[in-house]
């Protein structure tokens, strides 16, 4: 680790922090029905949408109809995307004449983009036509992100109101896309272009180092990258993702990529704070995310620069640390930051080979995903995940001040706890369940590149990534098999919908409750103490159940590495 490296990390995070407040406030205005600077321009467009779709923007929805609208919309999205992928061969814009996608892979890919996971069991450049990429995947890149934000706003309103309703899904979806994701991705895409990312359908004829001729297709990269990062989607145009020189050409574009994936998720807690009438509450939640995320960055950075004694023993200069699978143009510090951010968020874009991280360096992305993608989590999903943890933390510790627990004046009672527990149960069930079954299934084990603890980490990583809707891959696992395509697809769907439905129901129950007045006897939820408490609860309630699995994977691999055992 070096001071220079930490400075790079600090500068990147400071750039995010600089827009957190204005963006958070902008979204608060947007989602409480206020007028933004973009309204003169986009207002008529928005109203046009409602007229065409027959939506009454004034109509409020309870949790059940909000959930139904979301499920209907997602179901239609799944069907449309599945159809596009299966029918790829007969659809236009298919210059390479690629055939339709196999059923299991089509299901996996559709589920993946629908749930904001962007797990890619295929090689983008050789499996999908530009039409599939743009009309299929890119559309869901916008809509799955907008859906996440809408859901987060619905849950936020549960704490901000006492009316029982959670807003209107169609309005939230439209506003998130129109006023937030579209304008931001235009800005970010232009910045990408300025930083040298191609935005072109041309092809390049190049002479390779070996002297052969190669045709390199470009593509609408800058625009695809913009929404991939902003919407914490993470599905790359190329298989190498953000390590590919076209997607992420320089150290500067790397900073830009990290900034773009963090910016909305970091601002959403502030939006939450504004909407519940306590910006301090927003900062407290953001602090929890920051503390754990920076802890993760530090561990990756330390583990990677400490390197691998086995490689050092082969005569490799240890001063660079473990550079296997990393890009020299990014360096250790900014790779560590990218690794932690992309998994702390449910983005899943990668600028390095996670499979090549040292065991402890690889433990961090695993754990960050298993904690439920709340640090700061995917756009929207991170916020509502963090609110579930807040409810649990307040419930466990709130009693210690001698009052029945309440969060922001809303009493936390049996119904809320039942639903919150139901939600947090999903991740261990899906991650550990599928991993354990796969670990005993010969057909599944055949996909592993490595034996021993590293092989287990590869399995664990795949299901953690899917259930957490992250989408990054440890790689080293051939996931394009019917078993993995199907189970990972199911894991993604459960990780998104089986998680959010109880959360919405909890929100509905909270929204109907009166808000109790705060006093000196009220459990403080904006103090430093609360930040520490929430960190503890996330680690213990969210992470402890994965400890045995992690011990058998990366932790034992770490101790074995120092004992010079490899697999």
């Amino acid at each position: 680790m070096s001071l220079n490296g930490w400075l790079q990390i600090a500068v990147t995070l400071a750039l995010v922090l600089a827009v957190t407040l204005p963006l958070g406030r902008y979204m608060a205005v947007l989602f409480t029905g206020g007028r933004t600077v973009l309204h003169p321009l986009l207002g008529p467009v928005e109203r046009g949408f409602y007229r065409v779709a027959g939506v009454n923007p004034q109509a409020e929805q309870g949790w059940a109809s909000y959930a139904l609208a979301m499920l209907t919309f997602s179901g239609a999205g799944l069907a449309a995307l599945y159809a596009i992928l299966r029918l790829q061969g007969v659809l236009p814009f298919n210059p390479a004449g690629l055939p339709g996608v196999a059923p299991d892979l089509a299901f996996n890919t559709a589920a993946s983009f629908l749930t904001n996971t962007n797990w890619q069991a295929y090689f983008g450049e050789v499996t999908l036509s530009p039409f599939s990429q743009m009309a299929g995947l890119a559309v869901q890149n916008f809509l799955s992100a907008a859906t996440g934000i809408a859901l987060a706003m619905a849950v936020t309103r549960a704490f901000a109101r006492s009316a029982g309703s959670l807003g209107n899904f169609w309005v939230d979806l439209t506003r998130a896309t129109l006023y937030l994701l579209l304008p931001l991705s235009i800005v970010v895409a232009l910045a990408y272009v300025a930083l040298g990312v191609p935005q072109s359908f041309a092809t390049l004829d190049v002479t390779t180092l070996e002297g052969t001729q190669q045709v390199v297709p470009l593509g609408p990269l800058a625009s695809q990258e913009a929404i991939k990062q902003l919407g914490t989607n993470g599905g790359g145009y190329f298989n190498a993702n953000a390590a590919h020189p076209f997607e992420n050409p320089s150290a500067l574009s790397n900073i830009h990529a990290i900034w773009a994936m963090l910016v909305i998720s970091a601002a959403l807690p502030i939006t939450f704070g504004r909407m519940v009438g306590s910006e301090r509450q927003g900062w407290a939640l953001l602090s929890v995310m920051a503390v754990l995320l920076i802890g993760g960055v530090a561990l990756v950075y330390w583990a990677e620069t400490a390197g691998n004694p086995l490689i050092t023993a082969l005569g490799v200069d240890p001063s660079m640390g473990n550079m296997e699978g990393k890009e020299v143009r990014f360096g250790q510090a900014m790779t560590a930051l990218f690794v932690a951010v992309t998994t702390g968020l449910s983005c899943g874009a990668v600028n390095a080979m996670h499979d090549s991280l040292t065991p402890l360096g690889g433990l961090v992305p695993l754990l960050l995903m298993q904690l439920g993608e709340v640090l700061p989590g995917g756009v929207g999903s991170g916020l509502y995940g963090m609110l579930v943890f807040s409810v649990l933390a307040v419930f466990v510790a709130g009693l210690m001040v001698g009052r029945t627990p309440e969060f922001l004046g809303k009493k936390i009672e049996a119904r809320e706890i039942r639903l919150a527990v139901l939600a947090v149960l999903i991740l261990p069930l899906v991650i550990l369940g599928f991993t354990a079954v796969s670990a005993m299934l010969p057909a599944a084990l055949a996909s592993l590149n490595n034996a021993g603890p590293h092989g287990l980490s590869e399995l664990l990583y795949a299901y953690s990534s899917a259930a957490g809707n992250n989408g990054s891959a440890f790689a080293g696992l051939n996931a394009n098999t019917p078993w993995f395509n199907t189970t990972l697809g199911i894991a993604m769907m459960l990780g998104r919908f089986a998680y959010v439905l109880p959360v919405l129901a909890m929100a509905g129950s909270l929204a109907a409750k009166p808000r109790a007045a705060a006093s000196a006897g009220t459990f403080p939820t904006t103090s430093l103490l609360f930040v520490g408490l929430l960190v503890g609860v996330i680690l213990i309630l969210g992470g402890l159940q994965f400890f045995p699995a992690l011990a058998l994977g990366p932790i034992v691999e770490h101790v074995l590495m120092h004992a010079a055992t490899t697999f």
Partner: protein
């Protein structure tokens, strides 16, 4: 009510017996955490029987102990209530009632019947020495009654027909006189019956917060069940054959057995603390609500001030010395036996050292409500003191501006002015005021720090009320308060999202008592009031509201602290068991053996033993409750989080290590 010591030998013996009876899985099902433990214990016992070895045998034994300790905790908590119920039951022994045959005619004819055959509406005659058969209302007569059976207070109380003192309780004894009582409840539903049911826990249902906590604990049990079951598959992949006994041991140590085992004991003990405090809550919900109270509606008289106004100052007119006024006041109050009169005598004696003077031929004029005067005729002087207008009339004088100023000054400060005259000469004014109880101001400040507002309710006019309110340091006051005002005030506060506690005794308090989140009815109050409230104070002391709130908070704090402790314990248990599980496959796992436990078997056994013993160790805390401090929520949280959160993280590391050393020394593992 008398109450047994925290650990009474008889209670412990009975509890030990009960704890075995409670192992019945059908009743344990109500407590999922302990139920899972029992299933684990049964499973390991079965495996041990099939292939006996010392290790499995010890694990199985300690798992059974874990379950037993949990049922024992509950049995001890219940046992304390049962002992109290037994003493209450003696008061309910079958009594003969004198059922009046013609209650309308007053002919006094009665028939002796068993009390159990009475029905509501029957009228019975209760005479000196009789036990009142069932709860009822006096419709004729007045009697002094010994209510020691329910209050533990042997001083008799007066009950009479009409008004707010007409309710009588079955099981209490009439000491003198005779009364006609109209029965208001059916046999088996009397106040004492309900008390017995409450303290015995027969009617005990999980309170809302307890229910929510059980849900969380069940959820955590499920999560760890998933972790342990899947571990079997993951371990298989890693080439480790983990025995079922060890997996069960891991599961039981990870699930929150500590709080799961103590949860119901904590709830019962909370009710018990209230009962020992002579307050009966009709539901556990009310005790929880007490902890949440934001606003206390306190009656001025008896809670904030002493019941009576007292003389505090003599204000002589020009030309009259203070000593002269004091002396005249003393003389004029000789015939005044009211507390106010006595306080004037006391003040004159203490401030001016006046002694009783021999008063030969003096004629006392006693205080009378009609004249509102008292006085003395001695040696040709006619000295009077009393209400200002009465004294002015007696003296036949008009008030001088100086006199009027003195009267106004007293009135403005919230006091009551009394005038003193010697014949036609006005001597001065006595300042009577409500005396705030010592220490009450600090108490209110502490309540404010806890986030609780205090509101004084008084029939005084707003000027007087404001003066007393500012002196006592309450946050708000309700002057010239009618029962309707109280009800309206409570509703207003509740709309603002606050929980209100109040106490009352009259029938006209009933609506407000019912509306309040915590309504404490006085035992001396009317039947209507007692039914409207959700608590009854057997001592009829309005000050108790403050302690009731603290008992509620203590219950919730104990629950929260032990939950936090239980969850924090898991970290150390992982570090004990996980390396032990896999050290044979991966010898390097020894690096995770932070505690340096002697062998894998000893590590697992130590964690299981610690997990069982910690339940027993915490029973006293569960029963006594985590001490409540009158500080704000932030300070409380900091303290409890340090003690129970951080303590819960660190303590098991030490405990498991100590047990491991013991096991190694005894060659048990």
């Amino acid at each position: 009510m008398s109450s047994p010591a925290l650990f009474d030998r008889a209670i412990l013996t009975a509890a030990a017996r009960d704890s075995v009876r409670k192992l019945d899985p059908r009743s344990l099902m109500r407590n999922p955490v302990i139920f899972v433990t029992e299933v684990g214990a049964a499973l390991t016992t079965f495996l041990w029987l099939r292939a006996p070895d010392a290790f499995s045998g010890q694990i199985a034994a300690w798992l059974w102990f874990t379950v037993l300790f949990a049922t024992f905790a509950e049995a001890v908590a219940e046992g304390r209530g049962k002992a109290q119920a037994a003493s209450l039951r003696q008061a309910r022994s079958d009594v003969q009632a004198k059922l009046l045959l013609h209650p309308d005619t007053n002919d006094g004819l009665y028939e002796k019947v068993n009390a159990q055959t009475l029905a509501p509406g029957d009228v019975v005659l209760v005479e000196t020495g009789d036990v009142i058969p069932l709860d009822g209302e006096i419709i004729a007569g007045v009697a002094s009654i010994n209510e020691a059976a329910i209050t533990g207070e042997s001083a008799p109380v007066i009950r009479e027909a009409g008004g707010d003192r007409s309710a009588v309780t079955g099981g209490t004894t009439v000491l003198s006189d005779a009364i006609h009582v109209r029965i208001t409840v059916a046999p088996g539903e009397t106040f004492i019956d309900r008390m017995i049911a409450l303290v015995e826990g027969a009617e005990r249902q999980k309170t809302p917060n307890e229910l929510a906590l059980s849900v969380l604990l069940s959820g955590m049990t499920l999560i760890f069940l998933i972790a342990v079951v899947t571990l079997w598959g993951l371990a298989g992949y890693s080439g480790t054959q983990v025995s079922v006994v060890v997996l069960v041991a891991l599961l039981v140590t990870l699930i929150p057995t500590t709080i799961g085992g103590l949860l119901s004991a904590i709830g019962i003990a909370g009710m018990d603390r209230l009962i020992r405090f002579n307050v009966i809550a009709t539901s556990g919900r009310a005790v929880e609500a007490a902890g949440d109270v934001d606003t206390l509606l306190l009656d001025k008289t008896g809670t904030i001030t002493f019941g009576n106004r007292m003389a505090t100052e003599f204000l002589p007119m020009a030309g009259v010395s203070a000593a002269e006024l004091a002396s005249a006041s003393l003389l004029a109050s000789m015939g005044d036996e009211t507390p106010e009169g006595r306080s004037i005598v006391a003040l004159a004696r203490s401030d001016f050292g006046l002694e009783d003077q021999p008063m030969i031929g003096a004629v006392l004029v006693p205080f009378a409500a009609q004249t509102r005067l008292s006085g003395i005729d001695v040696a040709g002087r006619k000295i009077r003191k009393g209400a200002v207008d009465s004294v002015l009339r007696f003296a036949g004088a008009s008030a001088s501006p100086e006199f009027r100023q003195a009267v106004d000054r007293v009135a403005r400060s919230g006091g009551t002015p009394l005038a003193v005259a010697d014949g036609a000469r006005l001597l001065g004014v006595i300042h009577l005021k409500d005396v705030i109880k010592p220490g009450i101001r600090d108490r209110f400040a502490a309540l404010r720090a806890m986030g609780i507002r205090t509101v004084m309710v008084t029939g005084d006019n707003p000027v007087t009320a404001a003066a007393i309110a500012s002196e006592a340091g309450v946050d708000d006051f309700l002057a010239e308060a009618t029962p309707e005002d109280k009800l309206a005030y409570i509703r207003r506060e509740q709309v603002g999202g606050r929980l209100i506690a109040m106490c009352g005794d009259g029938t006209n308090d009933a609506p407000a008592l019912a509306q309040a989140d915590v309504g404490v009815a006085m035992q001396t109050g009317t039947q209507a009031a007692r039914e409207a409230g959700n608590m009854v104070d057997l001592d009829s002391s309005p000050t108790k509201l403050i302690e009731i709130v603290e008992i509620g908070k203590q219950l919730l704090m104990t629950r929260g602290s032990l939950t936090t402790f239980s969850i924090a314990n898991d970290v150390a248990k992982y570090f004990a068991i996980l390396p032990a599980l896999f050290v044979t496959t991966y010898p390097q796992m020894q690096a995770l053996n932070l505690m340096g436990l002697s062998s894998p078997q000893s590590a697992i056994l130590s964690a299981v033993i610690f997990n069982a013993l910690i339940i027993v160790a915490l029973i006293p805390l569960a029963l006594r409750g985590v001490p409540y401090r009158r500080v704000g929520a932030a300070a409380l949280l900091r303290r409890n989080l340090t003690v129970y959160g951080l303590g819960g993280l660190v303590l098991p590391f030490i405990g498991i290590k100590v047990i491991d050393l013991g096991l190694a020394a005894l060659h048990l593992a």
